[in-house]
């Protein structure tokens, strides 16, 4: 194909817009969004195609020999006319106040401004706590309607009337009373701010942006946090560090649910006969340390346990290890992933530990991706990166999961199959079978990696697989025509082992194959990589929950332990059996509310600093955005160490120490 006279080649049929974006051409769009199917309503993404004239690039595909002009005077004039029509019907005063909005950026580029002086007050809706609505600013791109209906699966936004009178309204007229689940995808896709984050409206557009990282999932996106009058109001991804960083509504908006939650606590609380009693940090730490000492004296150190329900910084991990191993001397430190899957996760990871790591920024140089499990939900930015590269024709994308719901990745894959977990195992076996039957795999490699490969081979050959599964497997193999292959795997014990077998077999055949496990549920990957544990075979999730039941004193670090547990009932039984639970958490969650005797507030990732490990082994810096007097876990741990007779360690020292423990990653 030719763009502005220059030759380019593509081996996949992608849209003109994606091809242009991939080559760095700037095409104005308003109704286009990566998450949505092309809609073609704004009529701005115009380009000229030789032989066809002016077409919209968002929904037309490249073809062999196609010749495209991206902008000349004629195209620019048409774009400007359409944009001007929108501007003429747009209220004055917003463009400069919220300059980052896509529509405002375009108005600036084309020298336009809103020309309407009056607003219709009836088009305001302030009934929702997180989402502010002013439909005077709506330009009818329908992105909100489409994202809600097609991506989220709700029907909150509705378009009524037709033509010039078309209006977007919330179901039942008031958003606050609708079935809105506050995901805020509509804010994210709205190019004007007609639907806007309520905090941005309330506190104003940020006056400064501070670098940090999001810790809400293991991708640990580098971000910029916009602060307005001391309040964090906005987060966006720092794409200079990670392309498509924080292209996720959790990191962009839903952190507000935590940060501005009504359940936040800023003082330690002690349970008493008449409810919670506010106490000071010193009092709280005295109570906790005395309790620990007592327990150790009376029942031995292993009667004290610690559960990590959420992520803490690398430095804090160092202190946590110190407290557990050197000060208290307990073996019973667990994280939520272990609680869910037992120590076998660790074994799994140690098997992979010699493998090359695929950095998120390098995904684009892969050939074929097989995405297994609900990656879009648990690691949204990864899913965005995969989809983006697939759309730009860089890689083949195969997606396999058992998700009974809409996901963009289903649509944006070359091949998608929804299979139950049992069938998924069979699918992996079918793939193994098909690869093995092609004979030209590296047998030596497999003999090295399987304890008894011949046995395994016989087993593969003996599987009785139904035709449907075989057909899916055949389709998948057809699509793997570009190397390297990477298996992105939302970890799940049930299919892990068979997937590992498949991985080895694929590797013996294609050579360049990677397996990348991702962990949801609290994402405490730092703990997995930083603390060594023995007897990997022994500690199953049931065993761990048993151990917890017999503890006398338990410290829960982080929130949402119960919500993130997959053995909730058993866990709750264990928790209710423990005499004394302290929870260190930013909000009062279920376990704090019902089981803790003492709650010590900890900060959110916006109120602390430290280093975190990303899923692809980069070290990311988290910076304190807001200083509101909350002690961060690091200081709480140090306070405990002193009280238990240990020696304080500072941030720098613990960072240096912890870094030497993870030698396989590059220190900053």
């Amino acid at each position: 194909m030719k763009i502005n006279g220059v030759e380019y080649t593509y081996d996949k049929k992608i849209t003109i817009l994606n091809a242009l974006k991939d080559k760095g051409f700037d095409v104005p769009t308003l109704c286009y969004d990566e998450r949505l199917s092309p809609f073609g309503s704004c009529r701005l993404c115009l380009v000229k195609v030789k032989g066809k004239g002016i077409v919209t690039s968002c929904n037309n595909f490249i073809e062999d020999g196609i010749e495209i002009v991206t902008d000349d005077d004629e195209i620019e004039k048409l774009r400007k006319t359409n944009l001007k029509l929108l501007a003429e019907n747009y209220p004055k005063g917003y463009k400069d106040k919220y300059p980052y909005k896509k529509f405002h950026e375009l108005m600036n580029k084309y020298g336009l401004d809103g020309y309407k002086y009056e607003e219709d007050k009836k088009l305001y809706d302030t009934s929702h706590p997180y989402i502010y609505v002013n439909m005077n600013r709506c330009i009818n791109c329908y992105n909100c309607v489409r994202v809600c209906e097609d991506v989220i699966g709700k029907l909150v936004w509705r378009s009524i009337n037709r033509g010039f009178n078309t209006l977007i309204v919330a179901e039942g007229d008031k958003l606050g009373k609708s079935s809105c689940i506050s995901c805020r995808s509509c804010i994210d896709v709205c190019p004007t701010g007609a639907i806007e984050d309520a905090f941005v409206i309330k506190y104003g557009y940020p006056n400064e942006f501070i670098d940090s990282s999001c810790t809400l999932c293991s991708i640990t996106c580098p971000i910029k946090v916009g602060v307005s009058n001391g309040k964090p109001v906005m987060i966006y991804g720092n794409e200079s560090k990670l392309k498509l960083s924080a292209s996720c509504i959790v990191g962009k908006y839903q952190w507000e649910n935590l940060y501005y939650s009504n359940d936040r606590i800023y003082f330690p609380l002690q349970r008493s006969e008449n409810g919670w009693k506010k106490i000071s940090y010193d009092e709280a730490l005295d109570i906790l340390s005395n309790r620990i000492k007592e327990t150790v004296n009376n029942y031995g150190p292993n009667s004290v346990g610690i559960i990590l329900a959420n992520r803490i910084s690398l430095e804090e991990h160092y202190l946590l290890n110190l407290i557990a191993k050197d000060v208290i001397k307990t073996n019973n430190v667990f994280d939520i992933i272990e609680l869910n899957y037992g120590y076998s996760v660790r074994k799994y990871l140690s098997n992979l530990n010699k493998e090359k790591i695929i950095k998120a920024n390098d995904i684009q140089s892969l050939g074929t991706i097989i995405a297994i499990g609900d990656i879009e939900k648990h690691h949204p930015t990864i899913s965005s990166i995969l989809i983006d590269n697939m759309e730009k024709g860089k890689l083949n994308l195969i997606s396999i999961d058992d998700v009974n719901d809409y996901r963009s990745i289903h649509e944006q894959s070359d091949f998608y199959s929804r299979v139950s977990q049992e069938k998924m195992i069979n699918l992996f076996r079918a793939l193994e079978f098909l690869i093995i039957s092609q004979e030209n795999y590296d047998k030596r490699y497999l003999e090295e990696h399987f304890e008894n490969f011949d046995n395994f081979l016989n087993k593969i050959k003996s599987y009785n697989l139904d035709n449907e599964i075989k057909e899916i497997a055949e389709n998948i193999l057809k699509i793997i025509n570009k190397l390297p292959v990477a298996l992105f795997f939302e970890f799940n014990n049930y299919i892990a082992e068979e997937l590992f077998n498949l991985y080895l077999i694929m590797k013996s055949f294609y050579a360049k194959v990677y397996l990348i496990p991702l962990f949801s549920n609290g994402n405490v990957i730092e703990h997995l990589y930083l603390t060594n544990k023995d007897d990997l075979n022994l500690k199953t999730n049931n065993k761990i929950i048993d151990i917890i039941r017999n503890l006398k004193t338990l410290i829960i670090i982080g929130n949402n332990l119960i919500a993130n547990s997959i053995n909730r009932d058993e866990l709750i039984k264990s928790l209710s059996n423990v005499d004394f639970i302290t929870e260190i958490t930013p909000i009062i969650d279920t376990s704090a509310k019902y089981y803790a005797k003492l709650i010590i507030p900890s900060p959110t990732f916006l109120e602390k600093s430290g280093h975190y490990l990303s899923y692809d082994f980069d070290i990311r810096e988290v910076n304190k955005i807001v200083n509101n007097g909350l002690k961060q876990e690091f200081d709480i741990f140090n306070d405990l160490i002193i009280r238990l007779g240990g020696k304080v360690v500072d941030q720098k020292e613990s960072y240096n120490k912890v870094i030497t423990n993870i030698k396989f990653i590059n220190p900053l």
């Binding site: 115009l46 006319t81 029509l85 009818n140 009524i160 009337n161």
Partner: protein, 480 residues
């Protein structure tokens, strides 16, 4: 890669799109262009039409405009072609299926399914040179072939009976007088493309067409049941008051219970149409030609007409002609001849012709030697549309005419795309004072260019075309 299509969502607000989804009026007065250009005949009708809310655009009675729902008479049907391919049926009183069968009806379908394979049928239609009569003029055989070539098992045929163009009443009378012919054509089309389900979409303004098609379907179903022939499932949907729903992708959305907005192509309906399946949308008149093509052969049909426009076409002439009504003509006839056969105007002198109204360029009296054909009309900045010809005389002021057209376009715009939603309204507002100011012309040209070249569907494009054509041809009347 596929797009999921969710259908029939519980979205009752979609009804607000249509003008008549939850309203009924005791009587309706037509606000269409044919009634506009002849409003002086019954000024009170036009006034009522203007006051009426919601509006009714075109009742398919343009041969008696100004018209209303409460009077009825039938148009004259004239044959100017060498053979009455369609008027043969229009002119015979077909009360029952038997009447139709006596004229040789249903033989083509029976022949097609027993003695021809699908590709033969398609080739025959390709050979005939038949092009879509719904407006776009796309070669019917090629459309069928591309649906036929799709691997999917499920395919649909949609019969577009939404004839919304003011001035047109040919589809109305095909359905009303000769429903069997339309259905036979549809059955053959469904066979050719491999569709096992057919949808008829008939506009609400044609209650009789709806009734005739529905009862003809019952007869036909019973007829084939007796003969032990399985025919496709046939559904009939009725419109709720919208012009744009006649656009094929909007129609598909309407049938799926979605907002009837056009969809940006690609994907084309033949790739991904109704319920995501390959779908052919054909116009009523297009399909009515099929039985003839099958029984007489494509090359026979090709003998009629000329150039790239083959066969015959039903032309609807408005009430300002001395002899208004339906004329079956061969392509290639000049506009002059048509007018001559209709006896010229009944009043005043001809000032211009609207062909394919409302959204195609106007033809001036000095262009009447143009021959009727898709390309030939394009060349003079107009288009065939539904073969609807509205003549107007000196009583019509061009700025007022343009206002009516733009008002229609803005009223009927679905609102999906920027130029049409906002541009038609802006142009309408500018012309509402009776002229375009010279200073506004830059703006006007910018907008009409945007309409013509960047609108999503024919409505916006047409609104730009007609404004462009009027500025070209009647500049001194609209610009001050």
């Amino acid at each position: 890669m596929g797009q999921m299509i969710r259908i029939n969502l519980p979205k009752t607000e979609i009804n607000t799109f249509y003008t008549f989804s939850d309203k009924e009026l005791p009587e309706e007065y037509c606000r269409g262009l044919s009634c506009f250009v002849n409003r002086s005949e019954k000024p009170n009708y036009w006034n009522k039409a203007k006051d009426q809310y919601p509006r009714t655009y075109c009742l398919g009675k343009c041969y008696l405009s100004p018209s209303s729902t409460h009077e009825e008479s039938y148009p004259m049907i004239e044959v100017l072609s060498r053979e009455p391919i369609l008027s043969k049926f229009l002119n015979s009183k077909l009360d029952t299926l038997n009447d139709y069968i006596k004229l040789g009806g249903m033989n083509s379908y029976t022949y097609a399914i027993t003695s021809m394979n699908q590709i033969d049928v398609i080739n025959e239609v390709k050979r005939s040179g038949l092009r879509g009569r719904g407006g776009a003029g796309f070669p019917t055989g090629i459309k069928w072939e591309s649906a036929y070539n799709k691997k999917e098992k499920k395919k649909y045929l949609i019969v577009n009976g939404d004839e919304g163009d003011p001035g047109a009443f040919s589809d109305r009378f095909l359905m009303e007088f000769s429903p069997y012919l339309v259905i036979e054509g549809a059955l053959i089309a469904a066979y050719a493309i491999g569709a096992d389900e057919i949808y008829f979409y008939i506009r609400r303004e044609y209650p009789k067409s709806l009734y005739r098609i529905k009862s003809a379907l019952i007869e036909i179903k019973n007829y084939f049941k007796k003969k032990n022939v399985t025919i496709p499932k046939i559904n009939v949907e009725i419109g709720k008051g919208s012009y744009v729903v006649g656009e094929e992708t909007a129609l598909i959305n309407a049938l799926m219970g979605r907002r009837p907005e056009p969809t940006s192509r690609p994907p084309y309906p033949t790739e991904k149409g109704l319920f995501g399946k390959p779908t052919v949308v054909n116009n009523v008149e297009t399909l009515s030609n099929i039985p003839y093509i099958i029984s007489n052969g494509g090359s026979k049909y090709y003998e009629f007409g000329f150039s790239k426009s083959r066969g015959t076409k039903l032309i609807s002439l408005n009430s300002l002609f001395k002899k208004p009504g339906l004329y079956e003509v061969e392509f290639g006839i000049t506009l002059e001849e048509i007018i001559k056969n209709a006896g010229g105007l009944k009043r005043g002198t001809l000032k211009g012709l609207l062909i394919g109204a409302p959204l195609s360029g106007i033809i001036m009296p000095d262009e009447l030697n143009t021959r009727l054909g898709y390309e030939e009309l394009r060349e003079i900045g107009s288009s065939l549309g539904h073969g609807n010809i509205i003549a107007f005389n000196e009583e019509t002021n061009i700025s007022e005419l343009l206002y009516e057209i733009l008002d229609f376009a803005s009223y009927e715009s679905c609102g999906k795309c920027t130029p049409c939603r906002l541009g038609t309204k802006k142009l309408r507002d500018l012309i509402s004072k009776g002229f375009f100011d010279k200073n506004e012309l830059n703006d006007v040209y910018d907008i009409l260019e945007s309409l013509r070249r960047t609108s999503l569907c024919g409505l916006g494009i047409g609104a730009g075309e007609v404004t462009f054509s009027i500025l070209n041809k009647y500049n001194n009347e609209v610009v001050k």
